[in-house]
């Protein structure tokens, strides 16, 4: 099944549950639209939270740049010995 169909059917199930919950709740009709807004806003906040947490925990590797420079020097040396002129960066 194409992913868009999977997502749409998930949306339909969630909507059905949501409507069911609303019908069973005691909040007066006039205020239900507020609930919809809260739900969407909290979804958006969850998404932003995921992005923020991921950003904070973003793995970095500054030491790798140094190691790479060493590898490059080693490689250039070897190739120079063998007579390959690879020039400079």
């Amino acid at each position: 099944m194409k992913n868009v169909l999977k997502l749409l059917s998930l949306l339909v199930v969630i909507s059905a549950l949501w409507i069911g919950l609303l019908q069973a709740s005691i909040i007066p009709q006039s205020h239900t639209w507020l609930l919809h807004i809260y739900f969407i806003v909290s979804l958006g906040c969850y998404g932003l939270l995921m992005v923020g947490v991921g950003l904070m925990r973003f793995p970095t590797c500054p030491q790798e740049a140094l190691l790479l420079q060493q590898d490059i020097a080693e490689a250039k040396d070897f190739l120079k010995q063998k007579g390959d002129d690879v020039g400079s960066d």
Binding site: N3, G47, V51, P59, A65, F78, K82, D84
Partner: protein
Amino acid sequence: MDAEKNKYSIIVPTYNERLNIALIVYLIFKHLRDVDFEIIVVDDGSPDGTQEIVKQLQKLYGEDRILLRPRAKKLGLGTAYIHGLKHASGNFVVIMDADLSHHPKYLPSFIKKQLETGASIVTGTRYVTGGGVHGWNLMRKLTSRGANVLAQTLLWPGVSDLTGSFRLYKKSVLEDVISSCVSKGYVFQMEMIVRASRKGYHIEEVPITFVDRVFGSSKLGGSEIVEYLKGLIYLMVTT
């Protein structure tokens, strides 16, 4: 699978990588001492003399270890892989970038992971512990993270790094997946892994580090973001 009988074909697409191709060949030979492999350089008619350097490397390492299979002009990554595949004699294929953002020192861990798990695809991920990125500023990291969260939500891909292009494939699997992919650029990399995931192929991940040395010259502008979103929608609808 008998480990001694495996041969790894490493496809490296190049364009103006005169210096980097020599470095990367040296590093591959350094880290894959007891492995049967060949390097297939697919050069798109580089004007900077990349092919001359490759010919010198062939004299040094052997024409059976380094294959030069050039093309007339810049024709795109997907077709470069297909072109390289035609000349691959191994039963496994590795794809990697030529600019040293992918370090050959991770090749043994790809091979080990595949032998341990029997996976069809082993893909490198920059986003887990043990992996990482260097050379990205905050904005770049933010777009990367945002793009990843969006892709995970919309595509449920089953891998943590969708746009990475450091991967090991069983040759037959690569041939199967690549034939059904039509996108270009990094969306192509996403399409490959998502299609493979949908086809039920066993995919494993290994952490890799990514040192972005072209930082500053590879900008992530508005048009790239639009292209990415279009790619996401395309993948959402067709996979």
